[in-house]
Structures are given as C-alpha cells and as structure tokens.
Symmetry: C2
Subunit: 145 residues, 2 copies
DNA sequence: AATCTAATTGATAATTTATTTCATTAAGGT
DNA sequence: ACCTTAATGAAATAAATTATCAATTAGATT
C-alpha cells in the first residue's frame, strides 16, 4: 500500500524531529511509487519532474538521512552501484541480483529472523536491521552464456 | 590457514587465465594476513610497505577483479564505505556492523544455505554467493548512549 | 636461456561522484 | 503574523574512480 508507505516514512521523519519539507516529500513520494529499484541518477531525474528546483546536494543529504533512519534500504548491485527502495511497513524481503545484467528480483523468505535473537545473545550486539543479497545469474543471462 | 587462503586465491586467478603478477601477489598476501576488515586506504598503505611502486589504479583494478572472481568480499559499513576480506576456503561467515563506530564482528551461523536451493528452484536464478550483514549497536556503543 | 606476445602496470590526466560552504528560504512552533 | 532555526540550492571544493598510454613483465614458445 503506497499511501501507508508514504505516511510511515513521513511520520518517522517527524517523530525523530526532522522537518517535512517539499524536497523530502517529493523524494519519499518518488521512492514509494517506484516499483523497480532505482539508482541515484534515476531518482534525481524522477524528482526533477515534479520538483524541478531540487539540487543534487539535497538528494545526497536526504538519501543519507533516510538510510540512517532505517526508512530506506540500499542494495549493492556492483561495487559502487547502489539501488534504493523505501521500506514498506509490514513487508520484509531480500534480493537476488544478477551479476551479469544487474536485474533485481525480490524474494520473501527470510531465514535470518529465526537466528537473529540468538546472535544478539551471543554477540551482545543489538541488531536493528539486516540486509541479505544473493548474487548469481538470472534466467535470461543463464540462457545467453 | 593463511597459506591455503593465499594459494586458493592465486590458483583461482591462474585458473581463470589471469597472470600472477607482483602487485596481485602483494595484494592477496596483505588481505590474507590482515585479521581486521581493511578499507581501501588501509590496503593501499599496507601494500606500499612491501611493494612501494604500486599505483592506486592497480589497486582499484585488482580489487575489482578479485570481487568479480568471487575471491574477495566487500562489506558495506556505511554508504560508500566498504571494507574487504579475502574469502577463505572452507569458511563461511557473515557480519555484524555497528552503525555507530563501524566495528565489524563475524558470526558463523548462516541461515541462508538451507533455503538457497529452494529459492533457486522458485526463481530460476542460479545463485553463486550471498552476503548478509546485520546492523546495530556493538556492546560498547550501547553503553555510551 | 633467449625470444616473443599480449596482459599488466604505474604515472598522469580526465572524469565522475560526493561534500562543504553560505546566503536564502521555509517549516513548524509561539 | 512572527520568530527561530533547520533545511535548501547554487557554486566551489574535495575526493573517489576511471581512462589513457608508453613501459614493463609474466608466461608461453622456441
Ligand atoms: Zn526490494
Ligand atoms: Zn531478512
Ligand atoms: Zn569477515
Ligand atoms: Zn551465508
């Protein structure tokens, strides 16, 4: 539900004491509505459509902030190639990344949740979130090799 | 076993048709011997100690190559802050990363192996490797907050 | 062991990406 | 409507990454 995702992100910003500004709203809206996993260039271009005055620095700052607040997730496709997605409340999934064409596919089963608390006990870390990416070849790239 | 790690990495290079050059050997040696998870700057400084003529470009190229060959793993500590570790034959582990001080702790239990082949069946991807990082606060940073 | 060939290297330049600065704007509280 | 301060955007600056290319060298071939 896109509306919920947007609202959750906005509320989290306010809850932590940040202002809900035009640029931030535009970025959150764009991310919430994008079905793929866009990179920074795509996001920048996309935002400009409905918020033409936005500067690059603001986008850097905002993505950094959303990551810190754990509202946003970055997926490493290749070295220094990140793709982004807004976290949806109630959803938890991970990603398959094709090492050939960089296609991203989501999968819902998470095996980490079960061992998370045991790892917390053993290591004394307090775990806030986790990322899991599996890398390999997508069906198309398997065919053409 | 450091010796084995070095040999495995070297053999993989040769097996794939790459030359075993001085710089590559130095980089592999450094990585194999480093117990922490160094970043590029640390690696560069460390290599220079025993291979002073190495250029930055070669380090970039070599790290990229080792990543491609799945000999090397990159751990995302923060946005655009990577740490590296050579994969050891017979070893498989994942990482806890402190979001405050960037300390990295390894943990051995991998929950993904069990579901990997099922995901391959369902998605038709062929999975070659995976990365899992859990983020949170290390014991020290929990104390000072 | 000397020769050959193509991959690799290192210095530099060029490019791209990210951050800092700072005057201006605007969000949210009063 | 006003005030305070966080946030923005443009530009400058800095940092990271990649491209270029002559010189070197690993590994194969005599
Ligand atoms: Zn996703
Ligand atoms: Zn998970
Ligand atoms: Zn490790
Ligand atoms: Zn694993």
């Amino acid at each position: 539900m896109i509306k919920n995702t947007i609202r959750a992100a906005q509320e989290e910003l306010k809850r932590k004491g940040y202002k809900l500004t035009g640029p931030r709203k535009a970025i959150i809206n764009y991310l919430a509505e994008s079905q793929e996993h866009p990179d920074m260039q795509q996001i920048f271009a996309g935002i400009r459509a409905e918020y033409p005055s936005i500067g690059m620095a603001t986008l850097y700052r905002t993505l950094g902030l959303l990551l810190e607040l754990d509202i946003l997730r970055a997926i490493t496709v290749k070295k220094n190639q990140l793709r982004y997605e807004l976290k949806k409340p109630g959803d938890h999934h991970h990603h398959l990344v094709c090492t050939e064409c960089s296609q991203i596919l989501e999968f819902g089963s998470c095996s980490f949740k079960h061992i998370s608390s045991e790892i917390e006990t053993v290591t004394r870390y307090s775990i806030e979130y986790h990322n899991l990416e599996a890398y390999g070849l997508c069906p198309q790239c398997q065919a053409t090799s």
